[in-house]
Symmetry: C2
Subunit: 450 residues, 2 copies
């Protein structure tokens, strides 16, 4: 077993079976909340997860809740009391708290919120109004902001006052009287500043906060491009309303990559933490049904060319290679475009240039692969017509697959859909049908003449 | 155009054409090195990239070099003088410097290193000895470490002394006389500490540094699990030798996701920044040739069942759906396993459990999809034998695809290969051949009897 937690999980499962709760309690007391969260995602059934959660040290429970995967969180929230949940929420930074409240059914959410102090309630409610995948949706409202004219000592005093509340301080923000962001000061500059220095003399004044509506993928691109430990979030008036730390950005990057890979594979990213075979089956089935419909369409299409197939049965032999190569080429093109879009590469925005390049690649590869296949078919069957048919079709399908593979993700993006959808079974399937059509039309045309 | 830099790129291209270097210089002086790096990745040909680089403010050049993509870096390094390169390296944190030196041909590297001070040379050489994708390979050797018994004032003095050298300080590390890591103190705790406090009274003492040999994916998992802004790296003796900041981890996560997606799609991650159609073609062609060989194999295989095909030509019509569905199911299973392995999910380590689950899903989906296809074939052709053949084969190929899709990535991992290889054309192709074989053997068997 590669994973160091695997042994621990096994031990806990044994202890659960024996019912030795005291031993589990001792074991869990030594583990980091991040580790416990991972263990919870893995151990036993829903009942046992909840039982285990209640055996963790009470002080660690908020952080554990903020670390468990979505499936486990849903399981736990369904079983914990309103008080247990609100106590955890109270302890967590607002971004993590909002994530948890956002998962609760509306009714439960209002009951849980009602147990908090009024100020906390308002704060959370404001955060919950932002779309889940926007800067506002991932920011926390705890940050350290001071007026521009304060000295280092005053800033340190402000930091001390907020010690309990704000975790992982990387920056001190300067704001004007209206709360607008006017400066950023990395914390280490505060730490080493000579006593008495005014902050506005040390701060970076040419600052930009990301707008609360910005998509989380763009936020990630900004953080990566400028290597920021955290970015401030501002409202329409430029007022500082929150901050996003790089560990949240890390989650975003992972999440988006998992989402893209899932869509490419024709499944949902919710699958990764799902354990019920029936539910996983229901996530995957719609994609497979699309494939099945396309396949039945291909069958009908081929039946229209029964005459050609009867004349040269060998045409059927090359059907798998025609569809497979179209699929491979389409996948190559679309996945590169999807990834470039996800990484915010500029390249992805110049459709004409990208298409032209993909077209040259396709012509080169199509020529080589079509040539080889043509030769193989000719040498094997001794019929040059067959050689020309398969070679020409292979060349054409590679061009078509490259074009659709490049264009579809971009079109999907323009339509506001996830470009990764354009790499999944939907596109592979339509490619299959198009390429078969090309193949048999070419065959019909050439066979009629020669 | 979605990307805000696109307009700037266009302007620079126009100015380059006009040859108005002064205007470009003015334009670039206002941009962040991270933005300039992205622009460089996009503008013009190799000559122009280099010309543009020399028009950037000299003080920004090191950081620009550390931000450009690999393809652009190679282009620039080939054209810059040893002095230009060594000056940039001298300014950069050691991890970025080592990345650049690591890209140079060996001879150039020693010439460039020779231009540095002896201490810097040694430092870099040490870093270059670690594998590129290990903790040692991504760490920087600049960090702030102090003896355990110092006071806050002494720590601040140490911070001040290293101000110019160390970027983005998140932690102050405590070390014993032998240089072994004994404590970690988040910087903000230092900033708010009361004067005179001894650091060892504030520091977290129960610390673990990651070993220098740890794979970068595991480092990323550690950083994410514990939400760390940076992690210390230790040698075999527990001595503190470097640190990895979370922005480097962000790069790792992106890199690994891009690598997985590229392999899934049957291409290389070096493609994303490559602009020459010929070179991209050469990256993709080997994968396509694997597909072509598989396709030719499929053709030979089908030709062995010419008799069956002549008796029931409709068998041919269902070839695309059999291969496509096997491919879809295989992709679903393998991509989930690959992603789970990449995220360090424990689930991925319990092969038996995973296989059992995938098998139940496959039985359920295979039953539904095989049933539908069987019915369609029967109603369409009125031959129940055909219905049974396609239904049964569909069911069997889904089971086979689920098994290979789940097992292959795990086996690849055990063999020390990248599990994502097991989702690419290699596996799709072998699935095609296996599924066709199942299909025609089932057909032969049933047709001989009924």
């Amino acid at each position: 077993m590669d994973n160091p937690l695997a042994a621990l999980v096994q031990k806990i499962e044994e202890l659960l079976e024996k019912g030795d709760e005291a031993a589990i309690r001792r074991l869990l007391a030594e583990e980091h909340p991040g580790d416990i969260a991972e263990i919870l995602g893995f151990v036993g059934d829903e009942e046992e997860k909840c039982r285990l959660f209640r055996l963790t040290p009470e002080t660690e429970r908020p952080e554990i809740l903020s670390h468990v995967d979505d499936a486990t969180l849903t399981v736990l929230l369904a079983r914990l009391s309103d008080h247990e949940i609100s106590r955890a929420i109270d302890e967590l930074p607002t971004d993590d708290a909002a994530d948890i409240v956002g998962r609760l059914p509306e009714e439960d959410a209002s009951r849980v919120l009602a147990l908090l102090e009024e100020e906390d309630q308002e704060n959370l409610q404001k955060l919950l109004e932002y779309p889940e995948e926007s800067a506002g949706g991932i920011m926390e409202s705890e940050f350290v902001a001071v007026p521009e004219h304060v000295t280092v000592e005053e800033a340190v005093a402000a930091l001390r006052k907020r010690e309990a509340e704000v975790e992982q301080v990387h920056n001190v923000y300067l704001v004007d009287d209206a709360g607008r962001l006017t400066g950023i000061l990395p914390l280490w500059r505060v730490a080493i500043a000579m006593p008495g220095t005014r902050l506005d003399r040390l701060a970076e004044r040419d600052v930009v906060g990301v707008p609360a509506q910005m998509d989380q993928e763009e936020v990630a691109a900004v953080v990566m491009r400028y290597d920021l430990p955290e970015v401030p979030v501002v409202d329409d008036a430029g007022r500082l309303i929150g901050r996003i730390t790089v560990d949240d950005v890390l989650d975003v990057v992972e999440e988006e990559a998992t989402e893209d890979i899932s869509l490419m594979a024709g499944t949902g990213d919710e699958e990764i933490h799902e354990t019920s075979p029936f539910r996983i089956s229901m996530i995957r089935l719609p994609w497979l049904l699309i494939g099945l419909c396309g396949g039945i369409g291909s069958a009908f299409l081929m039946s229209r060319f029964e005459g050609e197939l009867r004349r040269i049965l060998a045409l059927a032999f090359f059907v798998p290679v025609i569809t497979a190569m179209g699929g491979n080429v389409g996948m190559q093109c679309s996945s590169i475009v999807v990834r470039a879009l996800a990484l915010g590469e500029m390249e992805a925005y110049r459709i004409a240039r990208r298409l032209a390049r993909e077209f040259s690649i396709a012509i080169l590869n199509g020529f080589i692969l079509g040539g080889i296949l043509s030769l193989v078919a000719y040498l094997w069957h001794g019929a040059w017509v067959l050689g020309v048919i398969v070679g020409l079709s292979m060349f054409a399908s590679i061009l078509v697959a490259a074009t659709t593979g490049t264009l579809f993700p971009m079109v999907f993006r323009r339509l506001g859909l996830d470009p990764a959808l354009a790499t999944g079974p939907f596109v592979t399937t339509s490619n299959d049908v198009i390429n078969l059509l090309i193949y048999f039309v070419v065959a019909e045309f050439l066979m009629r003449r020669f």
